[in-house]
């Protein structure tokens, strides 16, 4: 199992990471090193074993239906690199 440079570019796009060409090559090496180890799992018999997503499962966690004050708008916006009219400015994704 190994990953091609084009696959690295595809995954970078999915991960929203702009990578330099040199980084893509380095990451290909690192990913392939890990993928080599991942092969160890293939032969492990996990048939009939329920995969676990949490170590100590808790179920049906309910919170009381009581209104509590949230973060004030000004505090929520304080760290925003760009805000306007009490709102976050997001990158434009649809052309006018």
């Amino acid at each position: 199992m190994s990953i091609t440079l084009d696959e690295v570019r595809h995954v970078a796009r999915l991960a929203r990471l702009q990578l330099e060409e040199g980084e893509i090559v380095t990451l290909q090496g690192e990913l392939n090193a890990l993928l080599g180890h991942f092969a160890d799992l293939r032969d492990v018999d996990t048939f009939g074993i329920e995969p676990t997503s949490h170590a100590v499962a808790v179920q049906n966690v309910w919170a009381p239906d009581v209104a509590r004050p949230g973060l004030p708008r000004e505090a929520a916006l304080r760290n925003a690199p760009l805000s306007r009219a009490g709102l976050f400015v997001v990158p434009m994704i649809i052309e006018e």
């Binding site: 990953i3 100590v56 808790v58």
Partner: protein, 486 residues
Amino acid sequence: MSGLTSLTAAELAKRLKTREVGAVEVATAFLDREDAFGAYLAVDRARCLAEAEGAQRTLDAGEGGPLTGVPVAVKDNLSTDGIETTCASKILKGYVPPFDATVVARLKAQGLPILGKTNLDEFAMGSSTETSAYKIATNPWDPTRTPGGSSGGSAAAVAGGLAPLSLGSDTGGSIRLPASFCGLVGFKPTYGRCSRYGLVAFGSSLDQVGPFGWTVEDVALLAEATTGHDPLDATSLDHPAVSARDLENGTLKGLRVAVPTEMFGDATDPGVRAAIDAALETLRQEGAVVEEVSIPTIRLGVTTYYIIAPAEASSNLARFDGVRYGPRSEGGGHIGDVERTRAEGFGHEVKSRIMIGTYALSAGYYDAYYLKAQGVRALMTREFNETFAKYDVVAGPTSPVPPFPLGSLSHDPMAMKLLDYCTIPANMGGFPALSLNCGYADALPVGLHLMAPAMADERLLQTARSIERVLSGKGLADATRRPSLP
């Protein structure tokens, strides 16, 4: 190191209660020491002293809890209202949280002043604190070596006399490894016993916050102060705080100790092996039943971890897009702004893990990698639970090697990852686990690793306390020994 800064937290608490010392005097003693180990990323002296004054008023009124007035250092992935929290990443440079993590709120409520925010591997991804975007941390026992990671700053702060106690976080060993490397006690509670609210998420099903200190008593007291149910964390267990009350009740007579053969291998340093063997032999002499067992899935732990943790991280770190916090890069146009922000904000190791996780979760690979890893995780948890049906604790080394020289493994990220195989299983199964100093290999600290079944946190601490007592009695370890410091 002398005077107040070499005392245990329990001793400081005692002197504060009897008014032998004041809370401001104690905080000042730690704040005045120069940070020669890259332990802190941020220190807010004025705020800390104001908190110490508040603690003193509580003490003067004859009130307060067991640790009131004892200052604490906090890992910089825990949100602190009003103090910059960067996770040692450029992508959070300048971020000042508008709220406190639950553990931080609990420190404040009980009058534990916050000394500062400690250094870590970027987003807690690493085992040496060398991936910090700001500075590396060094080991107070030998500053040419790593304090371990990812909570290296929290460990260096205590070992370096810059804090009597600290909080770290542990996703695959990030508390226990630095505790081992710095001659401290480091404790990861059962998953769900400590709130993760306000902990910047890395691997949500693995992350747990926990304490560092010089003694089992100190970490038990800080665990008591910070754990317990939190309605703000949906994975928090509806269970009281970890109790430090019956700490002296443990006994080694008849204690059943399992030592998995898989915890030792070619990578195990002979000095580490000798220190662990001597500690286990001491347990036998004290009446414990120490037996070798086999837990085969330990060998698969690192691989399984490097699917699950990056998968969760790739999802958790999607929130860093330069919209709500952190610097924002422009000029990429549209979504290109986000891609550029992330490219410039994340360091290499973080990018690498995001890539692994995104790949493992991507269409066509999800079943082969992520689901398979979750199956192996379930198998591993089952094997450990079968062992815990026959034994009280599972013991071994915390790390196969003593603290390694700075830079010696940073060129080989895979080799560094492979060292984490002793600590990873506790995160996989959510088990409570602890590293306790059990001696030295060439004057470098060696940690004994202990694991117990889920929810047996108190029993684990009691067992660790009785081991600490006999190791000290035999002269193998000494919780009063300190590195020689500048």
